[in-house]
Symmetry: C2
Subunit: 511 residues, 2 copies
């Protein structure tokens, strides 16, 4: 049951459904944190009028995937991003060179007292068209039972869909002839999916840093709503280190130069065995507890307040639905849902993404392979750092005699954290409240986003993920973003657009 | 420098070169163990006359690869084998049904007092044409610098080349109108490359077993010569168990049903981690010492005589050449060559053939994969057995809580051993001596062949690998078998053919 455009109310307080739904959603005493209702109504009208155009813009963007890991569209991607910014009315739009895929920086200065930063990733994850029900670069509009009309494509939710909705908000201000309540600094990268390897070069660029430092904070457009419509603001995120461990008999001398007959294992070192043993040394025998030397040294335990936030959040979640979504029957060690959430938030991880080496066809083949590779990633919590743990990885391997195992760190950054009292966090809560959404705060996202590049010196401003709307399938086939929602509590495209309008007003008016 | 056919002497004593080479090769007091020289000269003349036809027969056979692991030509392969036997003059030729790829059994009863068994594998290893310099099924004749004219193709040396040379010997007897000195029982299988899974069904078939039990012994046609022309008769071989370990989150419940976002590792069991830890538990941290519970219980150490044989053999080998051939700089633990040979012979192995699971493309991808597979094989020594160790594998995993890891044993058999005093061993030594070849005995091949199906009850006859000639690249690209040898001490195709003629006479005349 998807909702048609004509049914959508223009009353922003009722934007998530009819009057009855609105009454149910809004708690007592909710007051508007935003501008004169008439302005918002006009902007909303413009957003509705421009929705088809905005979706076309999103589809066109999906057609041009930038995939830095594969060197795909690494030059045209930033140019396209620059055009999107220009079309939205940004006054200065610059390509920021890096040692990898370039960044983009754009400003829209309306002379407002406050600045806000907006962070875009214009790159997307790799995809395999064979696994998709519709072509991953088509951006096809599909009716998804129980969800609504959705756009399906690589980048639909991660992150072009929400980002296009933010751009649609800027277009709507202009179309409605309303002045933006804040100035905007838009900072974009094309390496988010390779752990933002060179993004620090973008934010510290002399044209970028002084403006970012003026900002109240920075947010990434995001589908913050769950399937039920509730929102959780993550006050931080883990920091990843993505790396590959490679065993190669030739260069290392610890094994044969080419695959040889397997009977020689008795007297010849095996690169693939050495790799297996090296990676096995990184966790406990059940694969659940990190055993990397010194990894836990700087882990700051959650505070009582942080644990309270988690327990409160757990009450609002449906454990069985979460298990079903992840296709699991239990949490590790058969822990309770609450404990699993605390672990998800507090524990740094060592994840094994993939293994490849030797013979991989059907059955077996009696070779002693010369080469094998493991792909892993760590996710760290404060106060672990990228630099510290990178060094510990090499030291751990060397201490065990695995000097022959090559460590290739392909990306990473520090964990991020923002104080719940920060003005932009309070502005976000106020905006959600205005829209009648049930929003809470949560200590930390188990995933990662490069907020630390903003929250740490030299930028040192609050950072968060913000946005109305829903989608799923990031990094997976059939990734989607909701355009028209079957659930009145979940925002469709225009409602997601209006979520950004409300935030900009909230920031302008926050105390 | 390859030798042209016309240069090849018809004097069998000089078959490996000119008169001078022959004099150098033959020790003092070498006496013929075979038939009247005139008979052998006539057979040799026939073999030379038929060589082109025999090579064409080999090329045609190479064109039809039977690969049981991939289900390739599993029905036409045995039919083709039956035709080859019929053409060679075998009187009874039967297809022996098995639960896998069928076997073939053929007899050639000339009323001689003695029977000898000949074992053929008609299947070949998988191949990837992209890795080959000439098409793997063409059987192209190529000049290989320093080696001579060789036939290149899948199965060229392992094992169709030597087998076709044996068939050529039978054809030559017929063409020369000479009576075979022994009766021949030819037993063939199409599953050697999948660890002879159903071969016991062939040898114990009621049409097969009574005849095999009458045989002096059984041999597989083989390129026993090294690149220098010397020969080592292996008195045994290790017995393999080939298996795959598979971790699958869905069926096992120990992990997600599909790949999920890697951040969930904190609270979700990881099938690929569990697989890694399970396989890591099978060896010491350097990957060199088997740690499978109870694996070493029944390992019978080498006897003093066996070690003496190894030390004597070591003196005749060139360590640097062996290292170069295997592309290694050292033996494990920097052991001496002699110690490496003792280890190669005495130590059962646990080899990791390959790993595949999760993301395997360039760089990384933040998934927690649902599926991973490891391919391994063990090689056992007496008195370890297939049945005993198969059970220990499962028990080892279960004891460590890896009940979720699926164990798929794709094939295997017991180690094999033949007494050096067995008449067929002495016959082989005599035949080699007749041909002026420097032949010695060695306790055990580090590789495997399913000799145990013959050496153990109910067949219980001696078994060996026998044959003149040289080749390389079994299981590898550009596999070849020498047709015309650049080294006068190494047999070409006709000399390899004559090696079987000499063996049959030696068996007939042995005391």
């Amino acid at each position: 049951m998807s909702k048609s455009m004509s049914e959508i109310s223009t009353d922003r307080r009722a934007l998530l459904g009819g009057a009855a739904a609105t009454a149910a959603l809004l708690g007592a005493g909710v007051s508007s944190a935003s501008a004169a209702p008439a302005d918002v109504v006009a902007i909303r009208k413009a957003a509705i009028a421009q929705q088809a155009e905005a979706i076309k813009r999103l589809q066109d963007w999906i057609k041009l995937p930038t995939i830095t890991a594969e060197g795909v569209n690494v030059d045209t991607g930033p140019e396209y991003m620059m055009n999107l910014a220009r079309e939205a009315g940004f006054q200065t739009v610059k390509r920021i060179p890096t040692d990898g895929t370039d960044g983009v920086f754009a400003t829209l200065d309306v002379g407002a007292p406050r600045w806000v930063g907006v962070y875009f990733m214009y790159d997307v994850k790799q995809y395999d068209p064979k696994e998709w029900d519709s072509p991953p670069l088509e951006g096809r509009l599909v009716d998804k039972p129980g969800v609504g009309k959705v756009i399906v494509g690589r980048g639909a939710v991660n992150q072009k869909g929400p980002e296009s909705a933010f751009l649609a908000a800027i277009h709507a201000f202009k179309a409605a002839n309303k002045k933006l309540p804040v100035n905007i600094a838009l900072v974009c990268e094309g390496e988010e999916e390779v752990a933002s390897t060179h993004f620090k070069q973008v934010v510290t660029h002399p044209d970028v840093l002084p403006i970012l430092k003026k900002c109240d904070g920075v947010f990434i457009p995001f589908t913050a709503q769950s399937a039920t419509g509730d929102i959780t603001i993550q006050l931080g995120a883990k920091g990843p280190i993505e790396f590959q461990l490679i065993a190669d008999g030739g260069p290392s001398g610890m094994g044969p130069k080419a695959d040889i007959h397997s009977s020689e294992k008795a007297r010849v070192d095996s690169p693939i065995w050495r790799l297996t043993q090296a990676i096995a040394s990184l966790t406990s025998p059940d694969g659940n507890t990190p055993m990397l030397d010194g990894y836990m040294d700087n882990v700051r335990p959650l505070t009582a307040r942080q644990k309270d936030l988690i327990r409160a959040a757990a009450k609002g979640m449906n454990e069985e639905a979460v298990k079903k979504a992840y296709g699991v029957t239990h949490w590790i060690n058969n822990e309770s849902f609450e404990d699993s959430l605390i672990r998800l938030t507090e524990q740094p991880t060592i994840n094994l993404q993939g293994l490849i080496g030797g013979y991989t066809g059907p059955g077996g083949k009696s070779i002693l392979p010369t080469h094998a590779e493991a792909k892993l990633e760590l996710r760290m919590v404060p106060n672990q750092t990228y630099e510290e743990v990178s060094k510990k990885l090499r030291a751990h391997l060397d201490k065990r005699g695995f000097t022959d195992i090559k460590l290739n760190i392909s990306g990473g950054y520090d964990p991020t954290e923002t104080d719940e009292k920060a003005r932009i966090i309070q502005s976000a809560l106020a905006a959600y409240k205005t829209m009648g959404v049930n929003a809470s705060i949560f200590p930390r996202l188990a995933g990662s986003w490069p907020g630390s590049v903003f929250t740490q010196p030299p930028v040192a401003i609050p950072a968060l993920q913000y946005g109305m709307g829903f989608g799923s399938g990031a990094h997976a086939p059939n990734e989607f973003f909701v355009i028209e929602s079957a659930n009145p509590k979940v925002a469709g495209y225009t409602e997601a657009t209006m979520g950004y309008v409300e935030l900009l007003y909230a920031i302008a008016q926050a105390k």
